[in-house]
């Protein structure tokens, strides 16, 4: 009666989504490499190691924070604070290092601590006060950005004055640190999401919080984890920004949260919860990073920044949704 049906792996939709982001990235890079190829020989200004290093460096500010965003979205929440947290972390690190005279590692740790704090605040608001995450993180965004302005009163901290240009912690030049950190964190958090129970519980919570709770998942702990680590990751972005770019300022990263969320969504996160990919989010941030870099290489390209990025998000997400619907 119940003849066993052929066993087939039907987990394709999620897997392909992660792969499709990588595919988009490769196609995009290839496209620009073609279009920006130098006419009449000469070195390629886009497809060379130095430029790739640049892309990695500037994408990392978004990418590190996008890792946190993808986990939060996977858990069914959302975070509007990353841009403001990046700013506050850069300000705190700058203040402690330049004015307070703290050693660099201590100032950096304090900067990350800022993110732990803001993440904890978001967690308390969402879990204890049951505020919708949109509202809660909107509030955190205002508080952190406001705090950054309060501390700086319009000034900025010039970290580069106190950092020797040849600074190379652990033998890696400062310029490469953002990319290295992003890579390491991608691996770590991808492992957490795919190989640990916590990762599964995060996606369960996002997929159907009620059912997850009934099944015995500790939903409150899951939410606390994603918001606190999301805050810490955004703060780490800010610390990296401050140290590598040499400036701590209250108005940096304005509006970055939208790019960060877009990177996570392009990488496979579903805003209705339950689906997310850390690797995808990082690839998403690279997709936008390649786009920003390439735009700057087109004549008058930078004037189209916002427009092109907006269109790109729409195109990629629509394509992805259509592809997913065909499969199911």
């Amino acid at each position: 009666m119940t003849a066993p049906l052929p066993v087939r792996r039907v987990a394709l939709p999620r897997l392909v989504s992660g792969w499709s982001a990588a595919l988009i990235l490769l196609l995009e890079f290839g496209f620009f490499a073609l279009v920006l190829a130098p006419r009449g020989g000469g070195p390629h200004t886009f497809a060379n190691a130095g430029n790739v290093a640049l892309i990695l460096k500037y994408s990392s500010i978004y990418g590190i924070a996008a890792i946190g965003a993808s986990m939060i979205i996977g858990a069914g929440g959302i975070d509007l604070a990353p841009g403001a947290v990046i700013a506050l972390a850069s300000v705190v690190t700058g203040d402690l290092f330049v004015v307070g005279g703290w050693p660099l590692w201590a100032a950096c740790l304090a900067g990350v601590g800022v993110g732990l704090g803001s993440g904890a605040l978001a967690a308390v608001l969402v879990i204890a006060a049951s505020l919708p995450p949109f509202i809660a993180t909107l509030g955190v965004m205002g508080i952190t950005r406001g705090a950054a302005f309060l501390i700086t009163e319009g000034r900025f901290y010039d970290l580069s004055a106190r950092l020797a240009p040849e600074t190379a912690p652990l033998g890696i030049a400062l310029s490469f640190w953002p990319g290295v950190i992003m890579l390491v964190l991608t691996i770590v958090f991808q492992m957490i999401m795919r190989r640990t129970a916590l990762g599964r519980h995060i996606l369960a919570t996002g997929g159907n919080e009620v059912a997850a709770r009934y099944a015995g998942v500790r939903v409150k702990r899951v939410k606390a984890f994603v918001y606190v680590s999301g805050g810490a990751l955004a703060a780490l972005s800010g610390v990296v920004l401050a140290v590598v770019q040499g400036q701590g300022k209250a108005d940096v990263a304005g509006g970055y949260e939208l790019d960060i969320i877009a990177a996570a969504v392009v990488g496979g996160a579903s805003l209705s919860g339950g689906r997310a990919s850390v690797v995808g989010a990082v690839i998403g941030s690279l997709i936008f990073g390649v786009l920003r870099n390439a735009l700057a290489q087109f004549p008058r390209g930078t004037f189209l920044d916002r427009l092109i990025l907006g269109v790109a998000v729409l195109v990629i997400v629509v394509m992805d949704r259509l592809a997913t619907r065909e499969r199911s």
Binding site: T45, R145, T152, A161, L241, Q245, A296, R300
Partner: protein, 324 residues
């Protein structure tokens, strides 16, 4: 007697009346009240305005009897700035000095203030169609020309250059126009690209890096704003031996960059002057002296490595208020 908790009603009313009188009466029993001048920068986070504030407060101290109300939008939010201006009009301050994010947007609010008896002056960024009584600042077109001429001079009148700006602000656009005008007079100078960095400090660094990638043989960069000289590491990709960099604004740490040779020429404004002159003008208007003409061009400071030390000395004097 009715009780509100532990306080009975009559005492409560008495206390409230006392409180109202105390806050309502801001003037002391003797002496004239202080003049309240509102000074509104473009945004609180733009570093150049800090010095304007210092200048304003020193002038207030020197002239006496003046309170400076320093308020501005946190970010370059035009509507928020208009809100702040209107709030000061409602508070009936004695004078307003403002650096306009969008002069046209603020025009009718400024007109209302002036018609209502509140004198308004602008500094740094003007609202030319409005009834403001004076404008103090650089002539942005002249300033742009100085940048352009300065760069062309450094390049010996020949080479490929790139420009950096941020779309939106009127004064930046004027500087850009002035720079282009100046560079146009050198037929062997080619503008390879103009970059819009959306007022994003990180983007400026990225654009300089990518621009250097794209055009490795650039001879010079010209920035109509101070972003690259505030984020020092932004200039790392540039080799000063082959590529010259000129920029606007001379506030610290820009002079350091001149000394280290990363930047060859800076055009500075009279930052302290914005505050000082505005206060002086408003006080004068209050005393019955209308300004003879509207435009008070402050002049610019062109700083190179040769005169950077002298400039730094001068800066110290401005900062401590020992020189106007």
């Amino acid at each position: 007697m009715d009780k509100l908790g532990i306080v009975d009603l009559k005492s409560a009313i008495a206390a409230l009346m006392l409180l109202a009188m105390a806050t309502g009466c801001s003037r002391p029993a003797d002496g004239p009240r202080k003049l309240r001048f509102a000074i509104i920068p473009k945004a609180l986070h733009i570093p150049v305005f800090d010095y304007a504030r210092t200048g304003a407060e020193r002038a207030a101290q020197r002239l006496g009897g003046i309170d400076i109300l320093w308020r501005g939008p946190e970010t370059t939010d035009e509507i928020r700035q208009k809100e702040i201006l209107e709030s000061f009009i409602a508070q009936r301050v004695d004078g307003v000095a403002i650096s306009c994010l969008n002069g046209d947007l603020l025009t009718d609010a400024i007109d209302r203030a002036v018609d209502g008896g509140i004198p308004v002056v602008t500094f740094d960024s003007d609202a030319p169609k409005s009834k403001r009584l004076a404008f103090y600042g650089v002539n942005d077109i002249e300033a742009g020309r100085a940048l352009g001429d300065g760069l062309a001079g450094l390049l010996g009148g020949r080479g490929r250059v790139a420009l950096i700006t941020s779309l939106g602000a009127d004064n930046l656009q004027k500087r850009l126009d002035g720079a282009r005008e100046a560079l146009a007079r050198y037929p062997e100078v080619h503008i390879v690209e103009t970059y819009d960095i959306r007022d994003d400090a990180l983007r400026v660094a990225e654009v300089i890096a990518v621009g250097t990638q794209r055009h490795p043989d650039l001879d010079g960069w010209l920035s109509v704003g101070g972003w690259p000289v505030f984020m020092r590491n932004a200039l790392d990709p540039i080799d000063p031996a082959h590529t010259k960099f000129v920029a606007f604004d001379t506030i610290p740490p820009a002079p350091d960059l001149l000394r280290s040779g990363k930047v060859q020429l800076l055009v500075g404004q009279k930052y302290f002057g914005w505050g000082e002159e505005s206060v002086r003008l408003l006080k004068a208007i209050h005393d019955g002296e209308q300004p003879a003409e509207v435009y008070h061009y402050s002049g610019i400071d062109v700083v190179t490595r040769d005169n950077v030390d002298a400039y730094a000395e001068q800066w110290k004097r401005w900062e401590s208020g020992t020189q106007d």
